[in-house]
Amino acid sequence: MDKLCRSIWIFCLLFLVTGCWDQNEIEERGFVIGAAIDMVEEQTDDSGGEMSEIELGDKYKLTYQFVVPGNFIGGSSGGGQSGGGALEGKPFLNLTAEGASIHQITRKMAAETSRKPYLEHINLIVLSEELSRKGHLRDVMDFFVRDHEMRRVAKVMVSEGEARKVLEISPQHEKMPVLFIESLSENIVKHSTSLPPINMGDVHSYLLKGNSFIIPRIVVKNNKGAILGAAIFNSQDQKMIGTLNESETLGLNFITGKVKSAVPEFLINGQLVAFEIKGAESKIEADVSDKNQIKFTVKINVDGNVGELYGDLALENRSVLSEIEEKTAKEIERITNRVIDKIQKKYKADVFELGAYLKQEHYKTWQQVNKEWDKGENYFSKSVVDVQVRVDVRQIGASIKMVK
């Protein structure tokens, strides 16, 4: 009996060795690190019969940037000499295909490449402006959020013009365009004229919350890419309704408290002063007595150093420093008021997260105005946003004067 049991046991174990179903060697994977999605312009009807509803509808053009690992480590060393020779030595490969759903397109693309697209390392998703304006963000995002292969932290951006061009820019310091763009977006910290990187999880979150939101915008010029400004999406139908340029985005960042570093410039006595901001915090307060005209007060506290001084101001003079602080504050207020104006009047979409603030602090009011916050009645555009800035100069640098 013992022997019989043992043999049945071992026999069962044998079954397990028959297949390693999920074994996919690393070199057989087609690593996709970036995706760009555009809309297709014309529908070409090449099959002569009836086209199904899906085929008649909107189609997407999807471009994947594949990594060619053989060229990634750059013709170095003895190890993988492999098939690098055939592909001009570029470590990446862009492939494009069209279709109605992303899954469809991925399948079509698999026919062109020897490696099955593997999306676990995807780092960047670029959507074209056209697609965003037509409101397809929501649909396209569904694929990326629902499938477990994706990482939540892939960055999302909106491109000016065609998204595919973004994947073709020439990268500096990095091996691939996507990696380059990634570094760029990490670099935002230095200049704050665009948003901190938004990833897929954030977008999902925005969509679920039903607010308006903004996504960083990427611009391609002469094969060079730059991340400038932001794209505005409204909450009603998740369509892109406009853009913000660099200084407007800076203002936005001030209000939402996301400025890490910025350099406002202004004149004192005709001389240029550049103030280097090291940190800015913002606090929102609201007076909700009248729901038709909610007063928001945004208090911004800024710390910084004197960055550059053209002229002969004496920095050890207390009154000079005060003036610098005042002028900086005014400059910041100017920037922020401009963007508040533009958003409230022209776009009427709450991208300052004021609605979220209401929900957190003034729940009852929020319950009343929530449904029509930035649509319909649009309480948002009716409210008044007042910005108060306070600047503190912390350091003045190494020299007090440049010239005697």
């Binding site: 009996m1 013992d2 049991c5 043992r6 046991w9 397990l16 060795v17 297949g19 390693c20 999920d22 074994q23 996919n24 060697e25 690393i26 070199e27 994977r29 690593f31 690190i33 990594v67 690992p69 053989g70 060229n71 990634f72 480590i73 003895g78 190890g79 993988g80 000499q81 492999s82 098939g83 690098g84 470590p91 593997y118 676990e120 390392h121 780092n123 292969e149 990482r151």
Partner: protein, 522 residues
Amino acid sequence: MLRHVFNKRLKYQKQNVEDKQNDMPSTIYTDIQANLDNIKRILNAPSDFIQRIFTISDSEKKCAIVCIDGLVDKDMINDQLIKNIQLGMQTAKKEVPASSDEILKKLKNEVLSTYELKIVDILDDVLLAILSGDTALFINGTDKVLLVGSKGWDSRGIDEPQTESLVRGPREGFTENIRTNTMLVRRQVKDPNLRLESSKVGRRSKRDLVVCYVEGIVHPDIVAEVNRRLKTIDIDEVAESGTIEQWIEDSSLSPFPQVLHTERPDKVASAILQGKVAILLDGTPFVLIAPTTFVSLFQSQEDYYERWIIGSLLRMLRYVAAFFAVFLPALYIALVSFHQGMIPSKLAFSIAGAREGVPFPAIIEALMMEATLELLREAGIRLPKPIGQTIGIVGGLVIGEAAVQAGIVSPVMIVAVAVTAISSFAIPSYGAGIAFRILRFGTMLAAGIFGLYGIILTYIMINIHITRLKSFGIPYSTPFAPMFYRDWKDVAIRAPITAISKRPQYMQTVDKTKIGKGDESS
């Protein structure tokens, strides 16, 4: 059913280990010639058989000594034995008694100046004594025989232990001579409660076996259990303590050793002071220590001789090494073949690039490299010392490098295999090292089929096995399960000497404290 598969229960029968040599007359004759002939016949007159007939000083009585050349100390026999008998009585101006029995007694009490003397009257004892290196003295007219201790043979001097060398610590190791070994143990523990119980083991080899413990520290049930198991050994030859180990261990199917072996007297001393039992066997320098737990596999004497911070860090390093030794190749396989998403992007691309031309899937690659390494290791043991070292270097560098150049394996695999090999050498106990090697292959296979899931299931299975395993009644996974907090001070870390004031709780020792409190005796 499955329990039988993995945890064999030994059936202990009590057997009498008595020698029945049927067709040999077991009597001692009173005539010495008859005795000599008898013994010669039994032994078939080997060439190293020495017999010497002479007379006792003044009388006419003949006596004979019998011994085996090579086993005896010639000088002692010449000076002490023969000379004394031939001359001693006369010099002492003693009367030679009439009866041979009396002569024997007189020799024993007054004449012979050796310190090991015994009078026996059973032939088997005489034979055993002669074959062990003693000398038998026959006197005409009596059937009693005088056995004189005269053991003296060439043996290896006390040397540094080969398998367990330390940076800091005594450099004396056990030898093949059991008397030397007991001496070494006694030098470590001069407690009057130290017990060394001898017996003989092996039907034909009749080796000396000594069970060593400190009465008053060790729990009596453990000693009883060890003795009980030892008594059931019933084979012809017990050449090495390994045979004993395999006979008395709880489960012969487990990869883990349940009995520890060591060449170091200080380790033995420390063990018996913890409440364990040591088993010494004549003919081997490896002494057994029972019972053992999983954590003892990671303990080295050096942890105690160095200061506690270093000791603790080294211990933790060993646990990490054990983890690598078992799981690293499997993790590599799992990550590269199944869960590439877990590798950071740039590393993933590098690995993929490096593996472009490699024809085999990761698991085959891993198995190949591991198998090669095992072959190298096995070959390295048998080669003479100078070549052995070179093989290690040759194997590592040349073969590995060549394999990478040829595109058979990827460089990352070589790194993983190398780290694994080094880690498995970091574990102090050789038996544990082997156990981990076995487990490593199992885990690799599991990883090759199921990836990370396979690894975790294997980990669970190893845990189940360790928890179920017992060593002489003590669960192998003590002090983790069952949990004894106090013993943790000596497990992952090595707490300062003054903090380890009690003996291990799991041993349930009779005497609990190690360190005296102030001026009280412990």
